[in-house]
């Protein structure tokens, strides 16, 4: 395995939400997550809304301050670095976000959008910057770059806007990119195009990607490993194909079975579903957080004991009492 690029350890992000007139209650958006992204690797983080996947990405970029745990980037603990000392980190760790309509300033041309990070980090003289902007546009296949640089976001399709978002992340030559739902607002026929582009750029520049998505099917095809999150925790993590083909956690299995493939026989049968809805992040269930919805829950165990994430098969971990730790089994 290649060098470790980014590691989070027991990461926690709690928000205070108002309850009633004077009370407040902790929303545990992220509650003890540990994982690592290696150079040149894509780790997909898959989960439904409220799973904590977006918070994990934001905390990894230090866009939110963790309540507990550590963020280690290239061996350096950046968890508590003051903003004034985050410059080098920000330059090496970039983000591509969900909405290519709102994440680009409509009053700035593509050239201005791409120049902004260079100006903030004091990279290049004006003439060099123009060249860097054109290179970045060529990297994301926007040609001719001179013409594309002069355009404004409203003149571009959703797919082209997201390319500008990728070029903006790329222009500082980062080692790490958080891609938070980068294609969920892109049309189905263009999604794979954007994902292939990201894969190609990753190989060309040896970038580590944290690909945050609700779409486990794209994760299967465009990532090396998949982490499945539920209610602020990682419940399963392992090689992408193994997680899909031989899921260890009942939640992963349910998630996979909930997704229809285009098959005319679908309409003739009910889809197997997990009952209920994800729990409230202010009052997660005791024991395993999935136990109230789990068809395989073991009474007396699952609602009492919080299962640890253990390595069940080489490189494939799950947090589930169906896969007991060696000393239990």
């Amino acid at each position: 395995m290649t060098a470790e690029l980014m590691r989070v350890e027991d990461l926690r992000v709690y928000y205070q939400a108002r309850k009633g007139l004077i009370g407040s209650v902790a929303v545990k958006a992220l509650d003890g997550v540990s994982l690592a992204v290696h150079a040149g690797e894509t780790l997909a983080v898959v989960g439904e809304s409220g799973s904590g996947k977006t918070t994990l990405g934001r905390a990894a970029l230090r866009l939110v301050r963790p309540t507990g745990g550590r963020v280690v980037f290239r061996g350096e603990d950046v968890t508590h670095l003051p903003d004034s000392r985050l410059g080098a980190f920000r330059r090496r760790a970039q983000g591509v976000f969900q909405d290519p309509y709102s994440s680009l300033d409509g009053f700035m041309s593509v050239a201005q959008i791409l120049e902004e990070p260079l100006a903030i980090h004091g990279v290049g003289a004006p003439r060099e910057r123009t060249e860097m902007i054109h290179d970045a546009l060529r990297d994301v296949r926007m040609s001719p770059p001179e013409e594309m640089a002069a355009r404004f976001p409203h003149m571009l399709s959703g797919g082209l806007r997201q390319r500008v978002g990728i070029a903006r992340a790329l222009i500082l030559k980062p080692d790490f990119i958080l891609a938070d739902e980068p294609v969920s607002m892109i049309d189905a026929s263009s999604r794979a195009e954007i994902l292939y582009l990201m894969l190609e750029l990753q190989r060309a520049y040896d970038i580590g990607f944290l690909y945050v998505t609700h779409d486990i099917a794209t994760a299967r095809h465009f990532s090396d490993r998949i982490a499945v999150m539920y209610a602020g925790r990682v419940v399963e993590i392992g090689p992408a194909e193994r997680v899909i083909d031989e899921p260890l956690h009942p939640y992963t299995e349910a998630l996979i079975r909930a997704i229809p493939e285009p098959d005319p026989a679908n309409r003739l049968r009910h889809r197997p579903v997990i009952p209920g809805e994800p729990p409230s992040p202010t009052e997660p269930p005791t024991g395993c957080r999935f136990h109230p919805r789990c068809p395989l829950a073991i009474a007396g165990t699952c609602e009492v004991v919080d299962p640890p994430l253990i390595e069940v098969r080489p490189g494939h971990h799950a947090a589930c009492h169906l896969h007991p730790t060696p000393e239990e089994g």
Binding site: E48, S49, S157, G158, G159, L160, D187, A188, S189, S190, R191, A192, E193, Y196, H214, D215, I216, A217, T218, R220, H221, E241, I244, A254, L255, I256, R257, A258, I259, P260, E261, P262, D263, P264, N266, R267, H270, R271, P272, V273, I274, P275, E277, P278
Partner: protein, 321 residues
């Protein structure tokens, strides 16, 4: 007799430039108790098609025409007032995209379902309440949910309330515009199972509008693929999904990442056209890898590929312009 027969339906929008041809000569039939999937990408005109059917026209609508026969009645001949009183919500209702957020936050949801019953149906308060509770049973919501406010409901529960509302006046046809796109996949699957139950229990017909052809396969008997304001393929779900005829449908299916296969998804280069200036000839030709001589100058005719299956492509006909 089909429940719904639509012929050459058109809806354009006036802009400063040329009009946007959002629905441009769409024809199809829908049988009783069946579900028709209308599948298209953003900007294909699929939502405009539903607005045209419901006659909920934006103020810049222009070029609204064609024929729509619902349950034997020529509804295009009705005045707006007649259409509102006789057709909309009564014979044909709709669940709008993102409709969960249009619930009134200060009214209990049961009251919001009961209100149209009292206004439209002249039901007394007690009758409307009883009917509301039965509608809640129908969409598998516990009756006590009727006394809650929207903010106390999850997204999935709110969407069930919206479906209950659409069923309030017992319509024969419900148009569902992306009814699950705001929901998580596990909740989406629950919602699709509910729609299947309603279809088989009530014999209700659906027009299911979605960008997701795989999701359409979960309920639809027939599938229509729309591109740039036109239907490019229409056939049984079996044919459209397993033997698609139009190059666009074929590539749309190829662009879906499959969980069960290691075959990587493909993509269609380029973007859908601007509907105010659609390409000449076949609207898909600039993105079509199979385009040949007539495609960029002449609009392809609708060709019958098999019985009950048609597609708009020069490859599928011997005719030449």
């Amino acid at each position: 007799m089909s429940l719904l027969e639509v012929s050459d339906l058109t809806l354009h929008y006036a802009t400063r430039g040329s009009p946007v041809r959002a629905v441009d000569g769409v024809s199809f039939r829908l049988e009783r108790g069946q579900a028709l999937g209308v599948v298209g990408e953003s900007g294909s005109g699929k939502t405009s098609l539903s607005l045209a059917l419901m006659r909920l026209l934006p103020s810049n609508a222009t070029g609204y025409g064609g024929s729509v026969t619902l349950d034997g009645q020529d509804v295009m001949a009705l005045s707006n007032d007649e259409f509102r009183r006789q057709v909309r919500w009564r014979k044909m209702s709709m669940v709008f995209q993102g409709a969960q957020s249009s619930l009134n936050p200060v009214l209990r949801v049961g009251r919001q379902v009961a209100e149209p019953l009292m206004l439209e149906d002249g039901a007394r308060k007690a009758q409307a309440r009883e009917r509301t509770l039965r509608l809640f049973d129908l969409v598998r919501l516990p009756r006590e949910v009727a006394d809650r406010y929207p903010h106390e409901l999850s997204g999935g529960m709110k969407q069930r309330v919206m479906i209950a509302m659409s069923l309030a006046l017992d319509p024969a046809l419900v148009v569902l515009d992306e009814p699950t796109s705001a929901l998580d996949v596990s909740i989406q699957a629950q919602m699709m199972n509910l729609l299947k139950d309603l279809k088989s229990e009530l014999g209700i017909s659906f027009i299911f509008i979605t960008h997701d052809i795989a999701l359409a396969s979960d309920i639809c008997d027939r599938i229509a693929v729309v591109y740039a304001g036109q239907m490019v393929e229409l056939g049984s779900a079996d044919d459209a999904l397993t033997q698609p005829s139009h190059p666009y449908t074929q590539r749309l299916l190829g662009s879906i990442p499959r969980l069960a296969s290691s075959e990587p998804p493909q993509f269609i280069p380029g973007a859908p056209p601007d509907l105010s200036e659609p390409p000449a000839g076949c609207r898909f030709h600039p993105r079509c890898p199979l385009a040949f001589e007539p495609c960029d100058r002449a609009e392809p005719p609708v060709a019958a590929v098999r019985d009950g299956h048609e597609a708009r492509c020069w490859l599928l006909t011997e005719e030449r312009p």
